[in-house]
């Protein structure tokens, strides 16, 4: 384990910032280009995970355990969000027999 820790010290924190930004952007693009509600949901999960990784990196680099506790809370929140969101999607599918979000555009008005 010591050599893993010493090898990760060489990676600059900038690279974690860039990696998290790229994954967050991929999540945003996924929300914008897909029409399947479940895949939009997965993109939101990707964005949450990018933030989790960045918080963990900050916590590990600054030697403060609070960041990793926040990540733990975000994971609990994500589990709750997925359960409620998938229940809503199941209900939408039962009412419209589709998960296409363009059918739901009546919610706009």
């Amino acid at each position: 384990m010591d050599n893993i820790v010493s090898s990760i010290q060489i990676v600059p924190l900038n690279h974690y910032l860039i990696l998290s930004s790229i994954i967050f952007t991929i999540g945003v693009i996924g929300v914008l280009i897909r029409r399947n509600a479940i895949i939009i949901f997965m993109s939101v999960e990707l964005m949450l995970n990018a933030v989790n990784l960045l918080l963990t990196a900050f916590s590990a680099y600054s030697g403060d355990a609070a960041g990793q506790v926040f990540v733990f809370f975000i994971m609990a929140l994500a589990a709750a969000e997925v359960a409620v969101g998938l229940a809503i999607i199941v209900m939408v599918y039962r009412n419209t027999s589709s998960v296409d979000i363009n059918i739901l555009n009546r919610l706009k008005w």
Binding site: T56, A65, V82
Partner: protein, 166 residues
């Protein structure tokens, strides 16, 4: 150090495949692979507790929920109507400008190269448990109430209402 870049490349590849695959089942499988690479990232950061929680919660619970819903609704066909190419191009351009803005602002922050991992044992279960049950005791208990509410809400939403007044 080279391991970090290999795993990062895998993470980016799998997450791109998640949003560009036509079949939703394959998307879920690529998402599982993405979460596995996140677990490897946590292990590399010596955050072992988070690695195990990520492994169990995301790759276990959440992915089973996704797969369960997909197979229950029989959505594993590739007949999903896609958005038009114009909207796709606009979305990719918008995402690219978001990425450029983020990276530019990080560059403006400057002096981010503080690679002094002074306490490498911080992510172990013992230390995180001490912090979690002393400083963050109230949020921890509140999150249990949140999970209970989410469970009740999910059951209430997903059950078939037999009569109109519930």
């Amino acid at each position: 150090m080279i391991l970090f870049y290999i795993v990062s490349l895998l993470t980016i590849t799998f997450s791109i495949l998640v949003i560009f695959t036509k079949n939703p089942i394959y998307s879920v499988l690529y998402l599982i692979a993405t979460f596995f690479t996140f677990t490897v990232h946590y292990i590399l950061l010596n955050a072992q507790f988070l690695a195990m929680v990520n492994f169990i919660v995301y790759m276990g619970a959440i992915m089973v929920l996704f797969l369960f819903v997909l197979m229950l609704m029989n959505l594993n066909k590739e007949t999903e109507p896609m958005k038009s190419n114009l909207i796709k191009i606009i979305a990719v351009i918008a995402g690219g400008s978001l990425l450029v803005t983020l990276i530019g602002s990080f560059k403006q922050m400057g002096a981010m190269g503080v690679s002094t991992v002074n306490k490498p044992e911080i992510g172990l279960v013992e230390n995180l448990g001490k912090v979690l049950f002393s400083d963050f005791l109230l949020p921890f208990e509140l999150s249990s109430i949140l999970l209970l509410l989410a469970m009740v809400g999910a059951v209430l939403l997903a059950k078939k209402d037999k009569s109109d007044n519930g």
